[in-house]
Symmetry: C2
Subunit: 259 residues, 2 copies
DNA sequence: TAGTGGTCTAGACCACCTG
DNA sequence: AGGTGGTCTAGACCACTAG
């Protein structure tokens, strides 16, 4: 032996670890089962805890693990498919879409949101801002800020209790005919406020879904929703019944696709 | 002073750092500008390099920074909006959709893909597998594996060169009438193979877009596309012209939405 | 109170790019 | 060759959860 060892250690330790752990999860662990703690795992694999943690972070990012401070690391269930596409309730709050309003306010839209409404509403007054949470299987999967310009809900009743006010704004909004929607998805990290509602730590990876609702030839409402990236798979179209993808066990697909 | 310091150091250093750096990016740096190197930044802020790196990682995750080994850390341009929704070329490869086939093969579908085709094709023979890359602004933004069962392309000509074969399969596919599509988006990390094509390191955060194409009352094709999460914003519908969201400067939206 | 994951440090070496 | 970011180590302490 000696220098004859031609192994390719090009592969970082944490990457190799991730693979090994991932395989172990598929073959030796059941969903919900708790793994040994980080210090023991690190010792068992002969690496520093920081290195072990790098591997765990990746697996958590891929939705295979769930870590909770003070509790432990458990094997995560497959991601939940949550429908965000059209072909459903159309307007926000229409149909049984599992959103729950938890607050509302009237304030000038922040710059990034004002942009969604286009040039027209540049110097607009305060917009109705509704904060909602989306629950699935008794777990919070998303928070959302819904922005509705006063012009979209002209016939609004008197000042009401915060809860009732949100209901009233949505009800008024539904009187309009929805002409179409627009959507964008990007990666982000949870702001402190959102993180708390999603029961995650600040900075946790999230999927930001920005939506524009069109009616009366203009943007009648807009929203920015924050979905937990670890537990959610966003579905569009009638993909509700689509099976999981789960970059998993044999999903590694080590075939030649080459050239 | 002394114990009178009631500051809330609950906020982790890296989180605070991220905020400070983020603000600095907006006010003092131009897109493309290179930041001081990590060792100097760490010293300047009085933290260990690992802590500084945690902040940079977050900013990179949010698409605000771009780091390249051996080169440096630069301020990233706003994310590129790439259209993935319907209302475009419909079939993959139809229209000018900036995809370029770089290889193809016939092999049994991996388990996770076979699932997309439903029960019917459980024990199916090899499927056509086409690997494509999507370019935008001369940069690779996505790689894709397109799976097409032989049944979907019956009239396929003789064995051709790898490149021509991919073209032929797609051309045959276009003869079918597309009845609808299905889509799911989730967070993942780049496999080594994809990472290379996307000019990123293995494990880089990506958005996995799984699509099913329906024709003749069944799934005629399916694909798993891997988009760079740092540089891309996926758009659906006619959101092509939608302005950036950019969780940015004043986007922090420190208003009360409370209850 | 004991045990977990989360944060932080101060170093070291490596892989990669550029001049 | 020199500088960059990427990986890794071996510690320490903190915040949280649970029995």
């Amino acid at each position: 032996m000696g220098t004859t060892q031609l192994e390719a250690p090009q592969e970082p330790k944490y990457w190799h670890l991730k693979t090994v752990l991932g395989d172990a999860l598929d073959s030796e662990f059941a969903v919900g089962e708790v793994l040994p703690n980080e210090r023991e795992l690190a010792a068992r694999f002969g690496v520093a805890r920081a290195t072990l943690r790098q591997a765990l972070e990746q697996l958590e990012l891929e939705g295979r693990l769930q870590r909770r401070r003070g509790v432990g690391t458990t094997v995560a269930p497959p991601r939940i498919g949550v429908s965000v596409g059209p072909a459903q309730g159309s307007w926000p709050g229409e149909g049984n879409d599992a959103w729950r309003a938890i607050g509302c306010a009237e304030a000038p839209a922040p710059a990034n949101v004002a942009r969604l409404f286009g040039e027209s509403a540049r110097d607009d007054r305060a917009v109705h801002t509704i904060r909602r949470v989306r629950m699935t299987h008794a777990q919070p999967v998303a928070t959302e800020l819904l922005y509705i310009p006063p012009a979209s809900v002209p016939g609004l009743p008197e000042l009401l209790s915060p809860g009732a006010h949100a209901q009233a704004v949505l009800r008024e909004l539904h009187r309009l005919e929805l002409e179409g929607e627009d959507r964008a998805v990007e990666l982000g990290s949870a702001r402190a406020e959102d993180a708390k509602q999603l029961e995650r730590l600040p900075g946790a990876p999230v999927l930001l879904v920005t939506t524009r609702y069109f009616a009366s030839g203009r943007v009648a409402a807009a929203s920015v929703a924050t979905y937990r990236a670890d537990t959610c798979r966003l579905t569009f179209g009638d993909a509700g019944a689509m099976q999981i993808t789960h970059h998993g066990p044999n999903g590694n697909s080590e075939q030649r696709h080459a050239s």
